[in-house]
């Protein structure tokens, strides 16, 4: 399929100066071969991963999970319980690794922080009027600063799909830059705290075409995203393998062009170990082992973790496990 042409390392930092330069660059990206992308993603999903490779993949996938709860009904108690689960996903097996991060709403960050303090589990918070992103910029940056001040070290922001689809790329670009600035803990009144990682949610289910996904990916990376994430999980179409493939190619080409590595996070709709392993195969085949690490690839999921734990238990005990033996969350 068509890959983005890569020249020598080039400086793209000037692209965000004006609407015209951004548009020229984004519309100059080669189009995505839709049939090719879907076929390639389907083909990579047919690999058979067994025994020791499967065990390795399951442990890696557990370490990559952003254990998420984003419900209006979230309570401090639920968030504490989820955070405890993030630290020790399988209390019956000390060799089970902890997950990558916990992902909650900004108002729930303090409760998760209580439990996660001192651990290496990251604390992600959605911000910027998640999930619609339809709020004034000042509200979005305030939302972000509040989450960072409360202890979040990763921020999952949503782009303004309305502005993007209307072609106002500069507006989306500037918003990401602003939110990125707000991710700086020192600016939020926490001197000495590290800058929070910024994950930019493209909400690919609303972008309509793979070409738009590729453009949005590049736009987010140019504006300084540390991670690009597929979806909020709040619209019917969430992460799909072809969309993730297009985004993986974008981060690969971006690193080839600028030297900066950006992570990818598919979120929503990934519920089984089989699905997760298909994504890992795709990562390995598309961008290589550099991305097979929780710092560079994450799964936004909630029910996936229990299935990973059940499969892990099957491999360690030799008998099939059941959902009765894992927490409901």
């Amino acid at each position: 399929m068509t890959a983005t042409t890569t020249s020598d390392r080039s400086d793209l930092s000037e692209l965000g100066r004006s609407e015209a330069t951004l548009r020229a660059f984004l519309h100059g990206l080669p189009g995505v071969d839709q049939v090719g992308a879907e076929q390639r993603a389907a083909q990579l999903g047919t690999r058979s991963i067994k025994t020791t490779a499967k065990a390795w993949a399951i442990d890696l996938a557990i370490r990559m999970v952003d254990l998420t709860t984003l419900e209006g009904a979230d309570t401090p108690g639920k968030v504490r319980a989820l955070s405890a689960k993030a630290l020790r996903p399988d209390p019956a097996d000390p060799s089970c690794p902890h997950v990558g991060a916990v992902c909650v709403y900004p108002s729930m960050v303090p409760y998760a922080a209580e439990v996660l303090r001192g651990s290496t589990v990251h604390l992600a918070s959605v911000a910027t009027a998640f999930p619609s992103g339809q709020a004034p910029l000042a509200v979005k940056t305030a939302d972000t600063r509040a989450a960072v001040a409360a202890g979040a070290d990763e921020i999952d922001m949503v782009i303004s799909r309305g502005a993007f689809l209307a072609g106002r790329y500069k507006e989306v670009f500037d918003e990401i830059v602003e939110v990125k600035a707000a991710c700086d803990g020192a600016a939020a009144g926490l001197p000495g705290s590290p800058r929070a990682h910024l994950k930019v949610i493209l909400e690919t289910g609303e972008l309509a075409t793979y070409d738009n996904v590729r453009r949005a990916s590049w736009l987010a990376m140019l504006a300084g995203a540390d991670f690009i994430k597929t979806s909020t999980g709040k619209v019917p179409v969430a992460a799909t393998p072809p969309v993730t493939l297009v985004m993986l190619e974008a981060v690969r080409d971006f690193r080839d062009t600028t030297g900066r590595q950006v992570g990818v996070k598919p979120a929503g709709g990934i519920r089984t170990t089989k699905d997760a392993i298909k994504y890992l195969v795709m990562v390995n085949e598309t961008v290589g082992p550099d991305w097979l690490d929780p710092d560079w690839f994450r799964f936004g999921a909630s029910t996936l973790l229990n299935d990973l734990l059940m499969q892990r238990t099957k491999l360690t005990t030799g008998t099939y496990s059941g959902p009765d033996y894992f927490t409901l969350d």
Binding site: G318, T319, Y320, S321, G322, P323, D324, Y325
Partner: protein, 274 residues
Amino acid sequence: MSERVAVRKTYKLFIGGKFPRSESGRSYLVEQTNVALASRKDARDAVVAARAAVKGWSGATAYNRGQILYRVAEMLEGRRDQFTALGVPADEVDAAIDRWVWYAGWSDKLAQVYGGANPVAGPYFNLSAPEPTGVVAVVAPADSALLGLVSVVAPAIVSGNTVVVLAAEERPLAAITLAEVLATSDLPGGVVNLLTGRAAEVAPWLASHADVNALDLTGVTDADLAKSLEEAAAGTLKRVLRPPAGPVDWTADPGTGRMTALLETKTVWHPKGS
């Protein structure tokens, strides 16, 4: 004009209301007919289907379950010739249909007979009600291909359980034909899942499966296998129906033991006031 070539039938598994081949692609020959040879992964899939069906089936009203089971008996009646063509004696087909109707009638009577109000020393209503145990794995008996199978499946599902049943290895054709009856009689997919193959290969996976709640070993003839299956079942404290000590007369009055063995009793205390 060339002679017509008849379509030969491959007998497949029955999982979640569908008739898939074995995941392993294997089959074996019974009476010159290909029958799918189930693997452990088919058993795994069957348990997933059975578990998914528990909520709807156990949540249906007892009356509704009875109606659906009665409908199965109606459909069995219409397939009588098919069973006799497979070598099932006509009187066994009759007995199997009668047995099915008999169990269907129990669906809205179990709670009255095996539940009820308990006298307690206090101002409470105290009520016990039988509830299904969940997913039941069954090894069907080999000595009676149809009546024996009906006699182990019907008592398990009448109370709201769902089953994964391993048909007798040497006599699976009547079992799959029964599955075809079930598939066309309003029984929700996944309530009965039928595997054909070797008990020694598949049953241990069901016995140790943490998402199976009870194990019926009626069709296990090998004492060592029965013992190891019981031991595996103990790992998650499953209810176990042991294999019968001697030959079973399947035409005799079955009693209610098979139904009540697969029930849990829920007791509720309710304040009476004054």
